[in-house]
Symmetry: C2
Subunit: 202 residues, 2 copies
């Protein structure tokens, strides 16, 4: 049994991840902190540091959050780009950078991207661009992590559980059950792979 | 003959691009403006807008600049990430966003990334991550450009002309002549392809 910190536990992606982590001791965190063990804001390095200090020993960090703004490219504002980059890209990089100082030997990080970098749709250019950045970051930074620490990223298509929200903007996409996406998180946390993009698509 | 704006004309990559644009009227620009027709700072949207206004009619924009900071992941500072993202990622996005309002129908943008997102080396995590972001951006945003405007990105390995600077940090890489990289820029500007990552590697 590993101690796993799950960031974004209350979201639909967090619940999907949770379904793959049942064998472990899962410590939950989210921005609001509601119904979670801890509060954390991944855009704030001090907040991340405080989370890891408060938890103590842990084997894995699973991050399922990264806020994206949606708009056509020509009308997306500088602020919308900035917000998306600060959360989905820099926020996740922060989790790894800060986490290296606290995670156990042979621990693992699992980040989140999303299928829109390989299946583009209207309004999602910032989501796609930062997903491409995170997929690349994970593939490359895996070579630099010390003490046997691993890193992977789950790149899922839309969840069945979120189809009522996103379905309209994603014609021709086949949603997948959260439990299948949970398997990818499980494979990252319990396997020995590193530097991998774990696509979950139908 | 097309009118092509070449940003970063005085750099080694700019000279490589220039070798592929000999059939065209090339208008040069760079941050310093030295030996160029115009001065431009791609991290500043007003500066980009002023360049396009000053040039008047043009068919293509070729950007060969994007500043990257180099350091091991664990010691790379927030400022280094910020500087790299603002130039190589946001700067290039700005060139396209502003340029759409000025470029002719069926014009083209050609951006620059670099091979380190698929062949990672130490110290280059910010370069790799932003290259992955730009490659993704180009593949996705191509679907959104109006008026038959195209976009591609050239993703080259190290240039022979820059081997004395980068060779030591890139063991096992085979540099390519700038003229070969120039062909990729030519293929982007003179072809009909769009949304492509044009790898030039040996």
């Amino acid at each position: 049994m590993k101690t796993v910190i799950l960031i974004g536990a209350q979201g639909k992606m967090g619940q999907a991840a949770l379904s793959g982590l049942k064998q472990h001791r899962v410590i939950t965190a989210s921005r609001s902190g509601d119904s979670c063990d801890f509060q954390v804001d991944i855009t704030d390095k001090d907040s991340i540091k405080q989370l890891f200090k408060n938890v103590g020993d842990f084997d894995a960090v699973v991050n399922t959050v990264g806020h994206c703004e949606y708009a056509p490219f020509q009308t997306m504002t500088d602020d919308q780009w900035h917000t998306t980059i600060q959360s989905k890209l820099i926020g996740q990089i922060n989790v790894v950078k800060v986490g290296i100082d606290y995670i156990k030997d042979s621990g693992s990080f699992t980040l989140i991207s999303g299928i829109l970098n390989v299946k583009p749709i209207p309004q999602a250019i910032a989501d796609a661009t930062t997903s491409g950045a995170i997929d690349t970051f994970v593939k490359c930074v895996a070579n630099e992590l010390p003490r046997g620490i691993r890193i992977n990223v789950v790149n899922p298509t839309v969840l069945e559980e979120a189809w009522d929200i996103y379905g309209e903007m994603m014609p021709g996409f086949q949603p997948v059950p959260g439990q299948l996406v949970g398997k990818a998180f499980e494979r990252s946390v319990d396997g020995f792979i590193t530097g991998q993009v774990l696509f979950v698509d139908a």
